[in-house]
Amino acid sequence: MSFDLSIIWQNLPDILAGFWTTCWLWAVSTAGGIVLGFLVAVARRYGGRLIASVLGVYVAIMRGTPFLVQIFLLYYGGPFIGISLTETPTGLIGLVIYGAAYFSEVFRAGFEAVPVGHIEAAECVGLTRWQTVRRILLPEMALLVLPPSVNIAVILIKETAVLSTITVPELTMVTSVIGSQYYAFVEALTLLALFYWFLVEVTGRAGRWAEAKLSRYRFAN
């Protein structure tokens, strides 16, 4: 078995472009997933029974089926119901919808975990509703939802690789193409694995660092 890294150097610009695509797809889908997930969680909590059950079905479907099948349905099925998008927007939308379902569950648990006594205490000392949300509910929740949110962000990094199946030019796609052009799969895929490993490790460490920073806001249970 030969292990020839010169192929990687020759194609470095393409690889870096793929890496960049992966990174921004990840960043945008995580941000989008957090925003949409938060809205879903709020709507499920305060939106009445009908909205809650519809959104409950949405979350169950997203969490109960493989991302690959969801993305195929969106990409190949989309044109039949008038959604004709190119690969990259399809992939991005798919990731956001998928991530939002998971994030909404995190926020839901977060809402439920803030002790009612804290909210009541805030009311007793005369805080307005908005002040209670801004000063008590959200900070306490932020701490609770941080570790599981980092987890989901890590899952989303890894799901971006699945977008290569619908030919989104992200890192896995680019690297696989290079691998097959030069018949150097092992080199290309090893490098690819190391890239993702690095990205996931950095994210995990950043998450733990942020957790340690925020821990001074921790409340006793």
């Binding site: 078995m1 195929f72 349905l73 896995t172 092992v186 895929l189």
Partner: protein, 213 residues
């Protein structure tokens, strides 16, 4: 969508079940070994286990599958694509199960172990009678959860050419040119399978609770 097409999907989900089932069992067994490494006092073993878990949790399963699929022949190991897929799925799920088991063993109350010590249990007896059963009971929900995740993740083996549920859906979608009903049905089948596995887990958990009373 015709009944015949749907039955083709149902048949293909049999292969999904077989591949996932085998991988879950191998992954769980391997997970125990890795967990022993994680909990071991030997530095080298500990490091190796940590590295294993970090790698297989840090790299997308798709990339792992592609790497194993191409690496094995390059190393002179010629196996079928199904075997390669099972190897890939097992290694990945083992890393998660090891982490689950470690959490379970860490959550066994110290007092129980000390009590066993006081009663004159040997090290092995304590492990067999106290630590392992309690750790397993505590870990069960996480183990079932990982099994459900693996069932969904097994859709990725379609990429290395195994005609399981997702690949069958892809083939049918392109030959009939009706992707929406076909992929929706595939999703429904995954949903049902996952719900059944999660349901069995919940049932077992409840029985355990009753048994403890």
């Amino acid at each position: 969508m015709s009944w015949k097409l749907f039955m083709l999907l149902v048949k293909a989900s049999g292969l999904t079940l077989v591949i996932s089932g085998v991988s879950i069992l191998i992954g769980l067994a391997l997970g125990f070994v890795i967990c022993a490494g994680l909990l071991s006092g030997t530095r080298g073993l500990n490091r190796a286990a940590e590295l294993f878990v970090s790698f297989f949790r840090g790299v997308p399963l798709l990339v792992q599958l592609l790497l194993i699929y191409h690496l094995m022949p390059a190393l002179g190991i010629n196996v079928s694509s199904t075997t390669a897929a099972i190897v890939g799925l097992s290694l990945c799920t083992a890393a998660y199960q090891a982490e689950n088991l470690r959490a379970g063993f860490g959550a066994v109350p110290r007092g129980l172990l000390e009590a066993a010590d006081m009663c004159g249990f040997s090290h092995f007896q304590t492990f067999r009678r106290i630590r392992a059963p309690i750790a397993l009971r505590l870990t069960l929900p996480a183990i079932i959860n990982e099994a459900v995740l693996l069932l969904k993740a097994s859709s990725l083996v379609s990429v290395v050419g195994i005609v399981e549920l997702t690949r069958m859906a892809q083939d049918l979608a392109s030959s009939t040119y009706r992707p929406i009903p076909i992929f929706a049905s595939a999703g429904l089948l995954y949903f049902i399978i996952c719900a059944i596995v999660a349901g069995i887990g919940a049932l077992y958990e409840r029985r355990q609770k009753w048994a403890r009373r």
